[in-house]
Amino acid sequence: MNEGDILTATLESFLFVAGEEGLTLKQLAALTVCTEGEVTDALERLLAGYEERRMSGITLRQYGGVFQLVTKAEYAEDIKRLFENPPSKMMTQAALEVLAIIAYKQPVTRVEVDDVRGVKSERAIQTLASKGFIMEKGRLEASGRPILYATTAYFLDRFGLNSLEDLPPLLQETEEDEDTDLFLTKFQDILEAQEEGGNSF
């Protein structure tokens, strides 16, 4: 048995035991006394094996900064039959909106969230906290010292993200830039028109 195979097998056994808690690259390297590069290579072989092998119902994913073994998507419907109750309940639109605002603007106060939505978000924030998706992360150094909210690692896991950098870009950011450009262009136009007309202000 070659050493690469042993490493891959050892990693698989660790990941199996850790289950949904997963393990980071750093942790896997420390546990196997290998470099992160070696571990990465071995994890790639493990993943390739899962993906190639038709007989395999599991695969490797990276969520919330940790590597985890998970079942392949194609067996989701079958697995659902194992559950007496459907596992995940739909979140309300309000909770999703609040979660999106917190995810992108974190750390953020409740008032800031309220401002974006134009409605009070207190209840949604409580729900999200009790579901483990958001947490309190210090207080703003301002009058009233309001609580700052941030998302948790559990949020990243459940929403299939590895880190906050994986959040899809906000759709309108580019449009806004264009908007600014447009605005500036218009401003220039007006300035020029004014100058030509000899009107100073």
């Binding site: 199996f16 949904e20 998507a73 194992l82 999703l96 947490m135 929403f159 299939g160 309108q172 605005f183």
Partner: protein
């Protein structure tokens, strides 16, 4: 014109505004204020069941809309523009600007919420397993490894447990063909208890079977108790229940 407005469909005044802009096919960068304001107020009228708290939020925005509308009606003088306080302000300032910015900001996160939902749905098709219990490897986990713990670790753990507890292996549909009647089960229980020398743990009788099977077993025990064929005893409050045979075996079928 009257509308059938479902209040629950809107997440707040900005959501309503966004809905109107989409429905009326309005250019968000050049909002016809009079039209939008009228539509917004008409909707407010139709939404009768608003809670006071929510209503005030809708009304604040209505006031803003009216204010912008009236500002836009002010004559614009060539070269010189004043706001209500008579202060000169920059010509390029559009009274709608702040409103547009707010709507766009809200729209951005509303769309992000949709994407998050999709992302969560994609994640939801990959199932995981709970971590293997330490005891399986004869080790003792030091739980205090010097890491910073916070209360949200507790909540996360609790939520995972709830998820896990929804996993209940056997499917009832499968076992229906081997289902036995209460009468048969009563015989089975009596011979099981007899084999064990006349007494057995209550729990031993429930070691296998799906939910239907367990219910049948339970009903059978109740019936046997009623007939005084068995006695169910418990010595301490949290001790295991004991089943003891009361009479000689009988047949019920």
């Amino acid at each position: 014109m009257s509308y059938n407005v479902k209040l629950e469909a809107f997440e707040g005044p900005l959501d309503l505004l966004l809905h109107l802009i989409n429905r009326l096919e309005i250019d968000i960068y050049d909002i016809p204020m009079a039209q939008l304001t009228n539509q917004y107020i008409e909707h407010l009228h139709a939404m009768r069941v608003l809670e006071l708290d929510e209503l005030s939020e809708y009304l604040v925005l209505a006031a803003t809309l009216i204010e912008i509308k009236s500002k836009m009606l002010l004559p614009v003088h060539e070269g010189e523009v004043f706001d209500d306080e008579g202060q000169e302000f920059d010509m390029e300032e559009d009274p709608r600007e702040e409103l547009i910015a707010r709507i766009l900001e809200y729209k951005k996160y509303k769309e992000a919420a949709v994407q998050l939902k999709e992302s969560a749905d994609e994640r939801a098709v990959h199932y995981t397993k709970p971590p293997t219990e330490v005891e399986a490897y004869g080790a003792v986990a030091p739980i205090d490894s010097g890491d910073e713990l916070n209360v949200f670790d507790l909540i996360g753990a609790f939520q995972r447990m709830l998820q896990r507890r929804r996993l209940k292996a056997p499917m009832s549909a499968s076992i229906t063909n081997n289902e036995i009647s209460v009468g048969e089960k009563m015989d089975e229980i009596m011979s099981q208890v007899e084999r064990k020398g006349g007494t057995c743990d209550f729990e031993e009788l429930f070691e296998e079977g799906d939910i239907n099977g367990l219910i049948i077993t339970f009903l059978s025990i109740l019936e046997l108790m009623k007939r005084s064929d068995i006695i169910v005893e418990q010595h301490g409050n949290f001790d295991r229940l004991q089943i003891r045979m009361q009479m000689e075996e009988r047949t019920y079928e």
